[in-house]
Amino acid sequence: MNLEEFNKAVFPMQNKLYRFALSMVSNNEIAEDIVQEAFIKLWKTRDRLHEILNLEAWSMRMVKNLCLDHFKSKYRKTMLFEVSYESPAAQATPQKQAEVTDTLQQVQNVLKLLPEQQAHIIRLRDMEGYSYKEIAEILQIDINVIKVNLHRARKAVKKEIEKNESYGL
């Protein structure tokens, strides 16, 4: 696979990979670094990429693993130097903060309340439009587990929306 072919096959998924990384690490720069690392890994194995059935799901899984590696090293660093990253809210510019409407923020907050796996599933399904099979491949879990968790996640979101609605928010 030459650079042109790689460009056509891999680069269209850069934003999906980035958003997935961002949902995990909550930091634009780190998310971008992770996507970069994933692309380098893919490029180094470019001769075997045609063997992969679903390159996008495979790449998403790679990003997930890189994010987990990042957390492991972050944990080690925090243990050693007591370093903590700035939260995305602290990094956002005032303009960006203003762009985020209250209602959208409200939904984001609801998603944040979900257990990690449920939040991943609802993001991959409702935001990125992946099939159950693809989500199973990305998260390496059984399809039935995904269906159950998606159902729970949506129920929780509904409950939260209706609760806020009854409070007149």
Binding site: R19, F39, I40, W43, T103, V107, R125, D126, K155, E165
Partner: protein, 212 residues
């Protein structure tokens, strides 16, 4: 949108909460909720932000310079890899050439065979043996030459033949002179030893005083 259509959306929404909608049905819901709020009936409005968030999420994109930066990085990696493969190729060539040049003198059918590696491991021992052989040889030659001309004496650099009576007398005189000189030197140093008696005398005094 008619009342019937709203009912359909409501049904889809129910299926959605249950997790039983297909990707197509979910796309319909997203499309419906992402239109202007005025077209959405009051009872469905609370759910609009959720589906809007799903759409807004798509607007979150990687920085604009990422692709160009990435392409440059990947190209650099490729160049590095190409260099590595050429280096490897030249290394193999060099190996082949060294084997070829060694072939006329040493028979090496397969350089990886253990037999050859044993021979190679013996090289240091062989060099030690060669050095020892050279050393023994040189000692033998040196001692050989001295025994051949054994009956020769030198005095002040002058070579004397022991078989010649005159030279023999000269050698005797020289030896006598040397021994006399040695004896005189010993006598001189012996004089100085007399001072040691003083130590003996003083220790004797101390001993006698202690007895008392």
């Amino acid at each position: 949108m008619s009342h019937m259509d709203y009912n359909k959306i409501k049904q889809l929404l129910e299926l959605y909460w249950e997790g039983e909608t297909s990707l197509e049905q979910e796309a319909q819901l997203k499309k419906f909720f992402n239109q202007d709020t005025n077209f959405i009936p009051e009872y469905l409005r609370p759910y609009q932000p959720l589906f809007r968030t799903f759409e807004a999420y798509q607007e979150e994109t990687i920085s604009t310079g990422f692709e160009a930066k990435m392409m440059a990085t990947l190209q650099a990696i490729q160049v590095e890899e190409d260099n590595e493969t050429t280096n490897k190729a030249t290394d193999t060539n060099a190996q082949n050439m060294s084997i070829a040049s060694a072939a006329p003198t040493i028979h090496m059918p397969n350089p990886t065979k253990p037999k050859n590696s044993i021979v190679q491991s013996l090289y240091p021992l062989m060099s030690i043996a060669a050095t020892l052989l050279l050393l023994i040889g040189s000692i033998y030659i040196y001692t050989g030459t001295t025994t051949n001309n054994g009956e020769v004496a030198t005095i002040n650099g002058q070579v004397l033949d022991i078989n010649n009576p005159n030279d023999r007398k000269k050698a005797f005189e020289a030896t006598k002179m040397a021994l006399t000189m040695l004896s005189s030197k010993i006598n001189t140093s012996k004089k100085h030893l007399k001072h040691l008696n003083k130590f003996n005398q003083s220790t004797q005094i101390l001993k006698s005083k202690n007895r008392k």
